[in-house]
């Protein structure tokens, strides 16, 4: 049955001197440079490209370009494999490996095809109806079955070896589509001095110019297109992008162009160019010259391999010199498809025309008849006959047709091995609709056309429903001129083209018998939705087209309804007795065609996946074996395990060093904000719950911040550097947020305050030297200032030098030990850190990480905003009532603390927990319940906020937010854990170590 179909001559795009061979499903196929996988495979005589999604019916080529919905292939091997590419767009090269999809084990013999025999049981809404119950079947029965049977293509294996990138670009005019209209619009805009980007999804410009016939200024249309394209490539103010599909159009003319830079050329790819590039274009004006897409006709078994669009059949001959078959039928309701018949006849292919219109007159039909092509007017194809397995057609049935006719009584047979169908042309409105453009139904075209658009978008040519060459040129040149700003109208060349008479819509070609009695009229080929499915949905009450869409999955496949949309609406309209505008439309959503994840990620992969912030000491931490803890985008040392130590052993060692000797922590990530101005003190009184205007210069005070809801958002120590000058410390994650927060209140509420705020977090490295020996270490560092307890007591500050290092020293403690936080400008940070490590050696100094820090603070009952608080926690909840000023008239959150629901008696309060078994460490987040039951649900009365094993105390400690917790001191409560274990713990004070604070004031 398979025989070569390459014509002896013709094929504008191929170079017969350059043979190219590649594989399709493992078999070698040869073609010529310029071929696509589709054209080369067709030339080899093979018709079947894949199996359909639901019924596993064999499917062949239907389209010419990106509208192709059946011939989807996976291309490339291993990590470079890319599924779901349209064979019509994949350019071949030597060594290319393509595979068909959705078939098992082979294209010609497919197990899943049983679904087709059982299709009576797979009506529209099948999945909804069948897989609803029993619920437990979903996970183990239905889902694995569906996943195996369905799915298009398979994912690549392994890490993507190629590079991808994104680029932002701005232009005055973005012209999408490089066909006749796009070329004309771009030329006019460029001539007016605009910065123009012309993007086209094909390897070269021209659109359908090469298969449309006609002349411009005496030149054949393809020659005019080539010449205009060359001028645009050469222009200084134009950037032309080939192989670049506009995949989405968003607000304010933000358009994404997906450029396949190197897919077509392995040599280019191996030179290191990005495989794909995603352009993020911001255009003042967008001109949509996206053309139109031919629509199929719904006739019985219109999905059989060999049934294709008339434009595709014409394109195969004209572009690639490939015959769609040896003897075929053009089935049409318009004049345009006669061009296909004429081209086929010229190439020596047997052809006849079946025209559903009562009268087939006009230039093109007459020309066809003159050439000896038989034309059956007032007729339809009522059936196709196929060979074994439906792998290819052998003939068609032709019947007479009147509009409204429901069923065919008499039909005559004719031999045919292909059908070229045309149900008219739909303007490609996808991009128009992505950005909220309205569309309207055009009775003459029987298609939707652009209506209103609130953005600066203009559709021209076929995209605007204009198909006559002179009309396209006039409109496109005018639009390009007008939108470029200066508005000098570019001269419009003269056009000559055969005139076409209007189409007559046919949404459904009748057949003998009822629907689904061996006859399937496919509407959405990719999702296997038939006319019968749409009618069933109507009968079942899915009146809204949006409901029908979701119920039947019509228009929801990767082709986003490119060929099916209007046909489906036509069927629904006829079934419901409405007009198409009454039925309404569904929305096209991005992307226009699928695009790669690689291009979406761009260069933001591997070490660039997330911006990582490093302190000045980062490399030292790396060199000393630090395990990392991500804190926001920062990487902080979690602990520094030594040879053979577990993290736990290492953390315990670090904690005990701080408690008994001295430790060193890189605290550079803490937020640091300078605040200065005559109103700075009053401003801080507004920001913090407690009072800062009373703070003495040179002193530090711990402050709490609430948002306006009365919930804790940050905390930290603020230092008064001078009368009108403060330095605020924030949490590590809070620096940018809190500095923006301060600015917001200054700019939007207390605009009369004279205060400046500068975030200086990154200017300083800051290290905590903590432990009983901290002063000895500091002394060894040659301080230029008095560090005695009298001169520099707890919560005080001094500025000076340690040896040659300029420093600010804050005597503050988050560990409960004698502690100095030493800050030095960041470019000196590493140097000072090393000096401290060296100076501390004789005192047993150990660097410690964030986990030791957390255990140390938990032993002291110090809260961490974000651990002990969850965004709904007030200062009172965590027992810090003392830090909420009673004197200040107003500060952020004050009024909200007075609301009833924040004063309710049963709020959760922060308490300490001591487990009955001291070796039990409660998991973070464990729930406390009122009564333990055999199984959930159990009534929850609180949860663990922090939980550690304390090496200092030799037992576990925890903090928890427990309903009415402070009134339950001494009570034992239960924490049922997953797996059935119940941990019991006694409610205790949150301070587990050195309750008097004796160790702080030494």
């Amino acid at each position: 049955m398979s025989k070569p179909y390459r014509l002896s001559a013709g094929g504008r795009l191929i170079d017969r001197a350059k043979k190219v061979s590649f594989t399709f499903d493992g078999g070698t196929v040869s073609g010529f440079a310029g071929d696509t996988v589709a054209s080369a495979v067709m030339a080899s005589g093979q018709r079947v490209f894949g199996r359909s999604f639901k019924y596993h019916r064999p499917r062949g080529l239907v389209g010419l370009g990106s509208e192709e919905m059946n011939a989807l292939v996976g291309v490339g091997l291993g990590a470079r494999h890319e599924p779901n590419l349209r064979a019509t767009q994949v350019e071949i090269f030597n060594g290319l490996a393509a595979v068909s999809q959705n078939r098992w084990p082979s294209l010609t013999w497919d197990v899943g095809a049983i679904n087709n025999r059982l299709s009576r049981f797979f009506p529209g809404g099948f999945y909804y109806k069948t897989f609803m119950w029993p619920r437990s079947f979903w996970k183990h029965v239905y889902e694995p079955f569906i996943r195996r049977a369905a799915g298009l293509g398979k994912a690549p294996e392994g890490r993507d070896p190629d590079a991808y990138e994104q680029v932002h670009v701005h232009c005055d005019v973005l012209v999408i589509g490089g066909g006749v209209a796009g070329l004309a619009a771009a030329e006019a805009a460029a001539a007016n001095g605009a910065r123009v980007i012309l993007a086209d999804e094909n390897p070269r410009l021209g659109g359908l110019a090469d298969i449309s016939g006609g002349q411009v200024d005496g030149q054949a249309l393809p020659d005019w297109a080539a010449a205009t394209g060359a001028r645009l490539h050469a222009a200084a103010n134009v950037h032309v992008l080939n192989r670049a599909t506009a995949v989405g159009h968003w607000h304010h003319n933000f358009v994404m162009l997906f450029e396949r830079v190197a897919d077509h050329d392995p040599a280019l790819l191996s030179s290191g160019v990005p495989r794909h590039r995603l352009w993020k274009v911001r255009a003042r004006q967008v001109i949509l010259a996206t053309g139109s897409i031919e629509r199929p006709v719904a006739f019985a078994n219109n999905d059989r391999p060999g049934v294709m669009l008339a434009s595709a059949a014409r394109g195969l001959v004209e572009r690639y010199g490939v015959a769609p078959g040896s003897n075929g039928v053009v089935f049409t309701n318009d004049d345009d498809a006669y061009q296909t018949a004429i081209v086929l006849k010229h190439s020596g292919v047997g052809v006849r025309v079946v025209d559903s219109r009562g009268r087939a007159e006009g230039a093109l039909p007459n020309k066809a008849r003159e050439m000896g092509i038989p034309v059956d007017a007032g007729s339809v194809i009522s059936a196709v006959s196929t060979g074994w397995g439906g792998l290819g057609i052998t003939g068609v049935k032709i019947a007479t047709y009147r509009k409204g006719q429901g069923r065919v009584i008499r039909e005559t047979g004719a031999e045919a091995d292909f059908v070229a169908m045309s149900g008219g042309w739909n303007p490609a409105l996808h991009l128009w609709c992505h950005n909220g453009g309205k569309i309207r139904f055009d009775e003459k075209l029987q298609a939707f056309r652009p209506g209103e658009h609130h953005d600066k978008v203009t559709a021209v040519g076929a995209a605007n429903g204009h198909f006559a060459l002179h009309q396209i040129l006039e409109e496109a040149y005018r639009a390009g001129s007008r939108l470029a700003g200066s508005g000098n109208v570019h001269p419009v060349p003269t056009a000559v083209q055969a005139e076409e008479r209007p189409l007559e819509p046919i949404w459904f070609a009748p057949a003998t018998g009822k629907y689904n009695e061996g006859n399937k009229h496919f509407i959405d080929f990719q999702n296997d939705v038939t006319a019968a499915d749409l009618e069933l949905a109507q009968r079942e009450g899915y009146e809204s087209v949006e409901h029908t869409k979701r119920y039947t999955t019509f228009g929801m496949a990767t082709d986003q309804g490119k060929t099916s949309n209007i046909n489906g609406l036509g069927v629904i309209a006829e079934a419901s007795g409405k007009t198409i505008p009454e039925v309404g439309i569904t929305t096209f959503r991005p992307p226009y065609t699928p695009f790669s994840f690689g291009s979406i990620a761009g260069v933001l992969t591997r070490d660039l996946f997330l911006p990582i912030r490093r302190t000045a000491v980062h490399q030292w931490h790396v060199d000393h074996g630090a395990v990392w803890e991500p804190v926001g985008q920062w990487r902080r040392a979690y602990t520094y395990p030594r040879d053979g130590e577990t993290n736990h052993q290492s953390i315990d060692r670090e904690i005990l060093a701080v408690r008994n000797k001295v430790g060193l922590l890189d605290a550079s990530t803490l937020g640091k904000i300078e605040i200065k101005g005559p109103d700075a003190a009053e401003f801080l009184d507004r920001m913090y719950t407690n009072m800062f205007s009373t703070l003495k210069t040179g002193k530090c005070r711990y402050g709490l911040m609430m948002n306006e809801l009365g919930f804790l958002t940050d905390d930290g120590v603020t230092v008064r550097l001078g009368d009108d000058h403060f330095l605020m410390h924030t949490t590590s994650g809070g620096a940018d947020r809190i500095s923006a927060w301060l600015e917001e209140w200054l700019q939007t509420e207390w605009t009369h305050y004279r205060v400046f705020v500068t975030n200086v977090t990154e200017n300083w490295s800051q290290f905590a030297i903590a432990g009983p020996m901290a002063r000895e270490v500091l002394r060894k560092l040659e301080p230029s200032f008095d560090i005695s307890n009298a001169a520099l007591p707890h919560m005080s500050f001094v500025e000076g030098r340690l040896g040659p290092y300029p420093v600010r020293v804050y005597r503050i403690s988050f560990s409960g030990e004698l502690s100095y936080e030493v800050a030095t400008p960041a470019n000196h940070g590493l140097g000072l850190w090393k000096e401290i490590v060296a100076a501390g050696g004789e005192f047993g100094l150990e660097p410690y990480g964030t986990e030791a820090l957390h255990v140390l603070r938990a032993e002291k009952g110090y809260i961490v905003v974000g651990d002990e608080t969850d965004g709904t926690t007030t200062p009172i909840d965590v027992g810090l009532d003392g830090l909420v000023s009673k004197k200040k008239a107003d500060f952020l959150g004050k009024r909200s603390l007075d609301q009833e629901y924040l004063k309710a008696p049963n709020r959760k309060q922060l308490v300490g927990l001591l487990t009955e078994d001291p070796d039990d460490v409660l998991p973070d987040g464990a729930y406390a319940v009122r009564h333990v039951k055999d199984k959930p649900p159990m009534e929850m009365i609180g949860h663990v906020t922090s939980s550690y094993r304390s090496p200092t105390l030799g037992r576990s400690i925890a903090m928890a937010l427990i309903e009415n917790g402070r009134a339950r001191m001494g009570e034992t409560i239960s924490f049922p854990l997953p797996g059935g274990k119940v941990v019991r713990a006694r409610i205790a004070d949150t301070v587990f170590y050195d309750k008097e604070g004796a160790k702080l004031n030494v």
Partner: protein, 121 residues
């Protein structure tokens, strides 16, 4: 993605260069008279917002630019910005005139109050 223009420094850019700050012209009752803010006033201040289909008034910050807050009038259907104006200012009169529903009521009250303050002074 929207294109925003800062009225303070004139920088124009993608919305990712800016920070959206919710509804504009929300009054903080405690700033004026902290001792006499009713629960209802506080509730309205914290939680009650206008959510119109059409012209809306918002706060934005020139986050990756001059750092200043400002106001914007935006149509929530077409996404068109009708005006950008200062953080302490009211919208231009021609934009106020286009306001509907709750916004129209708000501006009528606000302008009325200002007029009576002027005549009182």
């Amino acid at each position: 993605m929207l294109v925003v223009k800062c009225p303070v420094c004139g920088a124009e850019g993608d919305e990712t260069d800016f920070h959206a700050g919710g509804q504009a012209h929300v009054r903080r009752p405690a700033t004026c008279d902290p001792a006499h803010v009713t629960d209802a006033e506080q509730r309205d201040y914290l939680f009650i917002r206008i959510n119109p289909r059409g012209l809306h008034f918002e706060r934005w910050r020139c986050d990756r630019g001059c750092g200043k807050w400002f106001h914007a009038a935006r149509d929530t259907v077409t996404m068109e910005f009708k005006a950008f104006y200062g953080i302490t200012e009211l919208p231009p009169m021609d934009v106020i005139a286009q306001a509907k529903g709750q916004w129209a009521e708000y501006f009528a009250k606000r302008l009325g109050a200002e007029r009576s303050r002027e005549t009182g002074a």
